[in-house]
């Protein structure tokens, strides 16, 4: 079975859109994080889909897409570690993770 690349890209776009909407509409910081992860992985999906297409045509960039995805995964993991750390620290003081409550830094 050979699924066309367009399908993967379309799925990636749908996932990215869901993530973007999630970031904008959810007020819980945890869920905002979750949505960000969704967007990152939507991008990853698109990248590996293109990489697969490159390798099928025998292109010289066959493995670069996969490499990029590993870097994105690693960075995302690090980001989550730091982000969750900050969240825990905020939660200790504010007893909430509602991002709308965290709006003191404004003009």
């Amino acid at each position: 079975m050979n699924v066309p690349t367009e399908y993967f890209v379309a799925l990636s776009a749908v996932l990215f859109g869901l993530g973007a909407v999630g970031v904008i509409v959810r007020r819980s910081a945890i869920l905002v994080f979750l949505s960000i992860e969704l967007m990152l992985n939507a991008a990853n999906l698109a990248i590996v889909a293109y990489a697969r297409q490159w390798s099928a045509t025998g292109g010289i960039h066959a493995l670069e897409g996969q490499g990029a995805v590993f870097i994105v995964l690693a960075v995302a993991a690090a980001e989550v570690a730091v982000g969750l750390g900050i969240l825990v620290a905020i939660f200790r003081y504010r007893v909430t993770t509602d991002v709308d409550q965290l709006s003191e830094v404004r003009a």
Binding site: S103, R106, A107
Partner: protein, 644 residues
């Protein structure tokens, strides 16, 4: 050209440095030196300068090339070559003798006059600096170095006129002197530029030796001449820049003597005599110089009648006498001008120091209406002042007679002036000579003769000044008598000063008068002096000023009192419009520029306020903005034909 060896003939070039050393010692370490010592240091440096000058004078080999001494290379750029070099010749030696000789007497006198003044070290330091600057001026071998001395003299006069700067009018007088002098300085600078363009050199000897080869009456030479005249008018207080000199009386009296007799005001005469060959080729410029000198002499002599300040009368007399000198050098009679510098140095220094002695004795009184009869109480001052008064009046056989006669002779026979012009100038100078004798008699009579009009306070304190002040008076009085015999008219004997100066001053061909005409001239100038004195005697001693009182109601009186209205004219023509422009610029600055900047700042602040409306602190809004931005960028990229 690059003589560097120091010999007896040019050892005088050390004189300015010795005086400078005195200025440095008193200026830097004066606080730690006690009173008479500062004066002794200053006097001894000038005395050393005088000795050096005398040595050079007797060792001078003669000839017109001068003996040079180049201290250091200074400016070398393309064709321009200016060294820190000095040049000794007959003219600079005469000037240096006057500066150090008369200057020495003024320094010694100052020891007595400034006794007890807290600023004595500063005073003597500046006095030394003044002498050093003036020596640099007359010994410089190039115009730029001459300009250094020229400016130095200006600065020192500023410092000394404003010596008692705690009083506002003194500081104002100093600033006025400085600013008016700056106008002349601009003339000097422009003259230098033009000189370099015409002659390709700024070396004094090179220029004066090349001048006769330039076309007679060429516009460039006339331009140089007129610009040098502007410079000379500033320093020598000639029309219309004479404004500063009467106010320069604000300084200590010996400073007035130094400015009026030995230094400063003679600089302009020296400059024109030095550049004589240029003027000899530019008769239009020379005639202008002569006219300026004659008119200045006449105007200042009239103004002198209406003054009541003992020093102001002398100040106007200086302006008038320097007018005589300028008239002489304008007429091409360079030796006569320098001769009058020498004789004037003696009697004017005496008059000022005598006035200082009177002011000293009366405890600061300067108004001649509260003086009189002092001759009996101050015998030495009175007698020496009488001699100097007679000398400046031009009484026969005293020095002023000889030099004034030489000037009159020069204007009448000048080859640089048309015959009618020369005769007119001669007549005006003769009238001025009569006026000179009359107002100087008035000065002497009001101060030293007639009834005593002293205030009780002053009367109690009248005393003859100490020897340190009277000895210079006596020496100067002797000089006022004898200096004239340096320049006896050639047909009567040897004219020493004219012979001495002949190699270095341009000597246009003067008309030769018959012996009878020469005698007629001498009789005329003698009659002018005696007539003036007699008129003065009648007006002030016999008539007791009744006729003068009637003159007081005429419009001439306030005009003369204000120095013939030049100050008011300058006020109206220059100061008021200047103030108007300044006020206008202030309004422009305050109301337009400042307001504009404030408004611009406010506008930027407002923009900032608007921009901060976005900063709500809601993270989700920021995320939406980012997304929207990304969408817009993507849309633009797609519509523009892909990201490639």
């Amino acid at each position: 050209m690059t003589e560097t060896a120091l010999s007896a003939a040019n050892v005088v070039v050390l004189a300015p440095f010795v005086a400078l050393l005195g200025a440095v010692v008193n200026g830097l370490f004066g606080r730690g030196i006690r009173e008479p010592v500062t004066g002794l240091i200053a006097s001894s440096t000038v005395a050393a300068g005088f000795v050096l000058t005398v040595v050079s004078f007797f060792a001078y080999p003669g000839g017109g090339d001068g003996v040079r001494f180049v201290l250091a290379r200074f400016l070398r750029a393309g064709d321009l070559s200016v060294d820190l070099g000095f040049m000794v010749d007959q003219l600079s030696l005469v000037m240096a003798l006057v500066i150090t000789g008369v200057g020495l007497l003024i320094h010694v006198y100052s020891i007595g006059y400034m006794k007890g003044d807290a600023g004595h070290a500063r005073y003597f330091s500046q006095l030394n600096l003044f002498v050093a600057a003036m020596l640099v001026l007359v010994l410089a071998d190039s115009f730029p170095l001459m300009f250094v001395g020229w400016e130095g003299v200006g600065v020192c006069s500023f410092l000394l006129i404003g010596f008692w700067y705690q009083q506002r009018e003194n500081a104002d007088a100093a600033r006025k002197a400085f600013i008016v002098n700056r106008i002349g300085d601009v003339g000097f600078l422009l003259a230098m530029f033009l000189t370099f363009q015409v002659f390709g050199s700024l070396d004094v000897k090179t220029v004066t030796q090349a001048a006769p080869a330039v076309a007679y009456g060429s516009a460039a030479l006339v331009g140089i001449g007129l610009l040098f005249l502007l410079a000379a008018a500033g320093k020598s207080a000639q029309l219309p820049l004479q404004l500063w000199l009467p106010d320069a009386m604000a300084g200590p009296t010996p400073v007035s003597a130094l400015i009026h007799a030995a230094t400063m005001v003679t600089a302009g005469v020296y400059l024109i005599a030095r550049t004589g060959p240029v003027f000899a080729q530019a008769p239009a410029a020379a005639a202008t110089v002569a006219w300026i000198g004659v008119l200045t002499a006449l105007v200042a002599a009239i103004a002198a009648f209406a003054q009541t300040d003992i020093k102001r009368i002398l100040a106007y007399s200086t302006i008038s006498q320097v007018g005589f000198m300028i008239a002489a050098v304008g007429a091409g009679a360079y030796w006569a001008g320098i001769f009058h510098v020498v004789t004037h140095a003696f009697f004017k220094a005496q008059l000022f120091l005598g006035a200082g002695s009177v002011i000293h004795a009366l405890g600061g009184e300067q108004d001649v209406r509260r003086m009189g009869g002092l001759g009996k109480r101050m015998r030495v001052t009175g007698t020496t002042a009488l001699i100097a008064t007679l000398a400046i009046a031009g009484v026969p056989l005293l020095s002023g007679f000889f030099s004034k006669d030489a000037i009159l002779h020069g204007t009448l026979t000048s080859p640089l002036l048309q015959d009618a012009t020369g005769q007119l100038l001669f007549a005006l100078l003769l009238v001025t000579a009569v006026l000179t004798a009359a107002y100087m008699f008035r000065w002497y009579y009001l101060v030293f003769a007639g009834e005593e009009r002293l205030t009780a306070e002053a009367k109690a304190g009248v005393h003859e000044s100490p020897a340190v002040m009277t000895v210079p008076l006596v020496v100067l009085a002797v000089g006022s008598v004898l200096a004239g015999y340096l320049g006896i008219q050639a047909f009567l004997g040897r004219n020493l000063i004219a012979e001495w100066l002949a190699p270095v001053t341009a000597s246009p061909d003067f008309e030769h008068l018959s012996v009878g005409a020469e005698w007629a001239l001498i009789v005329a100038s003698a009659l002018a002096a005696l007539g003036g004195l007699a008129a003065g005697y009648w007006l002030y001693a016999v008539d007791k000023g009744r006729t003068v009182k009637r003159l007081d109601t005429t419009p001439l009186a306030p005009l003369a009192r204000s120095g013939m209205g030049f100050d008011a004219a300058a006020q109206a023509v220059l100061v008021r419009p200047g103030e108007g422009v300044a006020q206008g610029l202030a309004v422009l600055d305050r109301d337009v520029l400042d307001q504009g900047l404030v408004a611009a700042g406010g506008g930027v602040g407002l923009l900032g306020k608007v921009a901060t409306l976005w900063q709500t602190g809601y993270v989700r809004l920021y995320a939406l903005a980012m997304l929207a931005g990304a969408v817009v960028i993507a849309a633009v990229a797609l519509l523009a034909g892909g990201l490639r």
